[in-house]
Amino acid sequence: MAKAQSVSPAFLGECDVVIIGAGIIGAMIARELSKLKGKFALIEKEAFPGFGVSKASLSQIHLPDFCPIGSLKGKLSANAPQRFKKLARELDLHYREVGEIWLALKQEHIENLWEAKKRGESNGARGYEIIGPEKIRQLEPYVTKKAIAGLYAKEPGVLYTPEWTFALTENAVQNGVSLYLGAAVTGIDKEDDHYYKVTTTRGQIRARYVINAAGLYSDEIAALLGDADIHLELRKGTMLIFDKSVSSLVRHMLFGTFSEKHSQDIAPTAHGNLILGVHYVKPRNKKDTSVSRENIEETFKLGKELVPALREKDMITSFSGILCTNNKASDGDFYIAPSEHAPRAIHVLAGAPGLTAAPGIADMVIRLLVEQGLKAEEKKVFHTRKESFPRFESAPLSKKEKMIASNPKYGHIVCRCEQVTEAEVINAIKRGVDTMDGVKHLTRAGMGRCQGSFCGSSVLKYLANTLGIPATKVTKKGAGSHHIVGYTKQGGESGAGEC
């Protein structure tokens, strides 16, 4: 991905619309906007698109059966599976249609399923089926025997959010959107009646319209725009990842009970692991993505109840993500609306299910922009995304042969756990990935059961060599997170012992 050059303190440029936040929602908006004539900018404070909360998503596309009837989030999620399937074709991305089953383990919960079905259908979704214990067992042989009924839908699926965020951003950039990474917004000032001056840690941008898609930080951006009354309520949710070797235990997204404290959810991931969530606690602050022993144990219990054969020793990692709701809408609904104080500024305060609703949100934001005066004229030529990163591991044998024939580096496995090849790692780096975590999320090298202890040193070298920087400058996730601190007494890039 071509990055705009950094000159600071600098004037970065002028545009019609600036989108603050390159999470899945900001990236989706940027990509939709890039179909229109005009100049657009996407800015992100992290080192890479999707490195905020999008990275810690369950990566599931749901139906709106858990959204209140008539809610905005319900409306925006109505046909999400179809939207994502279409996008997957357009962007050459992976959407795994695994289906979902909301399970009732007690007699009194069966009623909840009917209510969920009604909510989903009222919100515009179709394709539900209430199923009994035999059908459940047939679809999910390892599910608890206590499961007596289920609400089944075939189309919901899973994807990998960091991969999608990257692809959407890449496609937006391909179509002219300027991307500024590592650019945290520090001020937004009205320059005149037509322009805002958005100051970032990388320089200033002049923009007529401002989209606040800053996720967890959208309250702070709102305050900079003069909307000091927007507040966010935070919850931290813990999720566990299980080894691929136990993937046969769960085939669909399985849901159990929902409460303030948890959403009981176990599902396959896009890459064939299992993901289990979500146990909620209150975070200390927006950066508190720590996971405690207790969080892990509570989360594990949620999974064990649905799938008794699940074992903690098959867990390969745990992580947590922060979810927010806003004070402007009731019942935890989204608030997507023009600013009350700043003209031509639009707040996108989402939350769960932000990923599911993202395509709907992008449509709505563009509609609001037009209402605010943006001229929406389609470009003559919209470039479809070039081919996605071909993956060696999931390719059939004949395709693997072709890949190696075209580039022999596909024959060199770098990450043994996920079978990621040198060609894939180099490919990702050449397309803009410049951190260890970036390589991990985009190629999966380091994502498997050894968590990078075997391939870490190779990935470090590929990053240093391809980017043309010393290994000491390679970071895990941006400035300050260097992987190594120096050279050994006799080590060093040139054997001269630079340190």
């Binding site: 990078g452 040193s457 470090l460």
Partner: protein, 417 residues
Amino acid sequence: MLKRSKLDIAIIGSGPAGLAAAVEADRRGVKNLVVFERDELPGGILRQCIHNGFGLEKFKEELTGPEYANRYIKMAESAGIDIELNTTVLEIEKDRTLTSVSEHSGLRKYECKSIILAMGCRERPRGALGIPGTRPAGIFTAGHAQRLINIEGYMPGEKVVILGSGDIGLIMARRLTLEGAEVVAVAEILPYSSGLIRNVVQCLNDYEIPLLLSHTVAEIHGDKRVEGVTLVKVDTDWNPIKRTEQYVECDTLLLSVGLIPENELSKQAGVLIDPKTGGPYVNDCLETSVEGIFSCGNVLHVNDLVDNVSNEGELAATGAYERIKGKTLGRERIMEVEADEGVGQVVPQKISGDRETIFYLRVKKPMGKMVLRVGENFEKKFSYARPSEMIRLKIPKKIFSQMGSSVSKLQIRCEER
């Protein structure tokens, strides 16, 4: 169509187990064999183990890891053994078809009469432990840090806390100190070290590095790079004891918290795994539950001494040789070997009783004077035993002959005396 070749023996991995197996198979006259190595050089993890202490039994001298590996590499070279470097085995099937891939030869399929699994083990990562806290840079498994320092010439950190007192952790404490880093402490959740005593003395005591027994990391701090860890004392059930937390400033956390035999390929081929060892169930020729597939070294069970690993490689090669010569490997009479009272794990788990057999086992907890009993008619006394030191027990064939053909279960147990 992929190129298909036939092999007498395929050996997966060219660490000490794989190399010893290759040399032994060649010595017995098996010439159609290939060793598959995913790294760019043979030797496996020994390449990064530049400390000495290897080979006391095999070569009667103290060698470094690379020196020990080189002895076998030279033997393999002079025998003209084919070691395919930079080549990863992607899959093995129950019928012993193997698929490999490399940059230089692409995809290949081999139909093998025998396969010897010698893939070694991997380190338990942070995620599997669920250590609480943030996710900054500066957290390494001890072996990853060892590779960075000893092979790449990089320093992973300046001020280091090590969690776990396994041998690699202990050796890395010394190594980091010699390279100028400060090792603040080694924390061990057990009330005793999980490494060899000589390593505690030579790697910690000699450098005045504190070993905090019954301690663990309660939390990792730092947003971008590790800034510190909270250490806490634990009770006998590993529960943190309140008000014993202490914050220790550091930029690096090394994890030396256990090794896991790497059996993903084995499982694909249908090889059954013993949950106690994490490696395949094997018989007295180290043949797994799948005929013609053998296992040796750290993929079979985690060893302490490389000499034992080489011995296992030779035994597996002998088994594979006999298998391709059409021998039945004593599958007629099977005695199940059971790790009974006080014994945590044992290899092999099934024996024929047709040959002298070496059992490798570990006790469950540290013991003083004790006696180890094998079945009803064999015992051996020990002055002490520790889980960190594998016990090697050689049982002559005549002991099995005395047992009579009706015995189908052999219990191995130990008692304090």
